[in-house]
């Protein structure tokens, strides 16, 4: 597939903090006595594919909700796409994309209608939407299916389309929450090719997954245990540090230390 769009994203976005798309400093979220996210500090660079791993209940979802402007932190600092998570959370929402396995597209709208709907929400002009819709349809080889209902598409195609819709408005950063769950192995790899293309065009990718082979495809990986980030490095760096032959082994070594069970 050819990379045919996203030229805008090549120039450093306004408010980009020295190439850092996410900065988090002791970011914390408490629910009553329970500390879901416990003083996490990390940075994500522009164009990086950042793997965000952790066992169920380690605090990943809560952390992602804070970073996407949906949940107020209890304490600590963070900026996303150059905006403050406390004061500028509405601006954050406009500058990110989001896709999950569970929520993606409207089944009873056509492919074209879904694209128009989401791009419209992000305030894109009719011309932009019209031109780019053709590019995306071509890229996904879906030109002849454009006016079919999304529910008629096989799951793998839905997921690839959902990803293209999530980055249609050319966000600085896209959050992918288990994007490949339940997807067949061939489509899973095609999906990662789309992720690589997006990253190469300057979109930063923040991704969670339960497939440990996918952790290997990330530029850097963080592993959350009991609300903390217990490890953060390149996949090869992590394997070296934990004297492990695979990311699966690294994950098991770290996650088995967990005290809390969700």
């Amino acid at each position: 597939m050819e990379k045919t769009f996203n030229i805008e994203a090549q120039t450093p976005p306004l408010g980009d903090r020295g190439g850092k798309v996410i900065t988090a400093d002791k970011l914390t979220k408490k629910f009553g006595d329970f500390t879901a996210v416990d003083h996490i500090s990390f940075e994500v660079n522009r164009g990086e594919i950042f793997g965000f791993l952790g066992a169920n209940g380690a605090g990943k979802t809560t952390a992602m909700r804070m970073l996407s402007g949906l949940s107020m932190p209890t304490s600590g600092k963070a900026t996303v796409a150059g905006f403050d998570v406390y004061k500028e959370n509405e601006k954050i929402k406009r500058n990110i994309g989001y896709m999950s396995q569970k929520f993606s597209l409207y089944e009873d709208l056509t492919i074209r209608e879904n694209i128009q709907f989401y791009a419209g929400i992000y305030g894109k002009s009719s011309k932009f939407i019209k031109d780019k819709t053709e590019v995306v349809l071509q890229q996904l080889h879906l030109q002849s299916e454009a006016d079919k209902l999304v529910k008629s598409l096989p799951l793998g195609w839905k997921q690839k389309l959902a990803f293209s819709v999530a980055i249609f408005h050319e966000p600085k950063l896209v959050f992918l929450d288990e994007p490949t769950g339940g997807v067949d192995p061939v489509t899973r790899r095609e999906f990662w090719q789309l992720i690589y293309q997006a990253a190469a065009s300057g979109i930063t990718v923040f991704v969670t997954t339960h497939y440990m082979d996918e952790a290997e495809y990330c530029s850097r990986v963080s592993i959350m245990v009991d609300g903390r980030i217990d490890a953060l490095d390149t996949p090869s760096g992590l394997k070296r540090t934990f004297n492990a032959s695979s990311m699966d082994e690294v994950f098991l070594k770290l996650a088995r230390k967990a005290v809390r069970t969700e």
């Binding site: 769950g181 339940g182 067949d184 996650a255």
Partner: protein, 310 residues
């Protein structure tokens, strides 16, 4: 002796039968076997389980569970199977203990009578027995659902994607639990989208778009791969993947975790090495053993469904 026999089951959905979920599926499961049905979403796993647990009627074909026909003898089957659906389906407003008591009572038994069977699993959530099921964490819900599916001592247990969305550590623990249940003589059918779980089963059926691609032991499936498989790695993995695809000796190349896998047409290792050396970067190339995922992809490409991959 076969515990489950499935013979040419066809299932369609829609007014005009426009969606075919199962295209004539046949297999059998031996008594006491841990049998895995492995495939992505849309493979037909849930339709198959619902037919075998008498909750759905097939369009064509026959099936028996424990010797009973899934249509004529549905009442007998319901008494002797345990079913854990993919979606959590216990009573959210009942406590942990009330849920288990409810299921025991429905099957005319008591927790005490079969406690030994569920003890290992249930004891882990027993400290929370007064908590409402809706307030449990994902892992605890899963353990309660399994306890409820077991409390009437079923002879066949159907588990529909018990590990989907579950992290790697909990998945391993769940499979260890299943291995111990198998020792009690229960036949277990379990479906999963995770290829790496195949190795935990006695035999597996690989499924895709309503068809079975292959049925065998995990070792048996791997032994049918029949091609030389190489693993390659370099500093520029994207470039390497493109180069692998360009080499005429390579039939197929795809990312596989830390390495790329290259399925060779013939031997061709020396030629590939030469080919890559000319590209002028350092790389590592070694022979590797195929696993279930390599086999699944090979089978998918051999038998394209016409739907998933245009």
């Amino acid at each position: 002796m076969s515990s489950v026999v499935v013979n040419n089951i066809i299932k369609t959905y829609g007014k005009k039968k426009e969606v075919t979920a199962l295209h004539g599926v046949s297999f059998d499961v031996k008594q006491g076997e841990l049998f895995g049905i492995i495939g992505p979403d849309g493979a037909g796993k849930t339709s198959l389980f619902r037919i075998l647990t008498t909750l759905l009627l097939a369009d064509e074909g026959t099936a028996t569970v424990d010797g009973f026909d899934v249509v004529k003898d549905f009442k007998a089957i319901r008494k002797r199977v345990g079913y854990m659906p993919g979606r959590f389906s216990l009573y959210q407003d009942l406590t942990v203990q009330e849920n288990l008591e409810f299921f025991a009572t429905v099957f005319n038994t008591t927790i005490e009578e079969n406690y030994d069977l569920v003890k290992e699993i249930y004891s882990q959530i027993e400290p929370f027995k007064d908590r409402r099921a809706g307030k449990l964490s994902g892992g605890m819900k899963q353990k309660l659902a399994l306890s409820c599916a077991l409390i009437h001592r079923p002879s066949v247990l159907f588990l529909d994607e018990p590990t989907t969305g579950v992290d790697a550590v909990s998945r391993k623990e769940f499979w260890e639990m299943l291995k111990r249940l198998k020792e009690q003589g229960i036949t277990i059918l379990v479906s999963t989208p995770y290829m790496d779980e195949a190795g935990m089963c006695d035999r597996v059926a690989l499924m895709q778009s309503g068809k079975i691609l292959s049925i065998d032991t995990p070792q048996g499936i791997v032994s049918t791969f029949g091609k030389k498989l190489l693993a390659a790695k370099s500093d520029n993995m994207l470039q390497l993947l493109n180069d692998l695809k360009l080499c005429t000796q390579v039939e197929d190349a795809y990312p596989f975790g830390e390495y790329h896998h290259a399925v060779m047409k013939n031997d061709g290792e020396a030629e590939l090495k030469q080919f890559l050396q000319k590209k002028g970067y350092t790389f590592e190339l070694k022979e590797t053993a195929p696993n279930i995922e390599d086999c699944f992809m090979q089978l998918m490409k051999l038998k394209p469904s016409g739907e998933e991959h245009k």
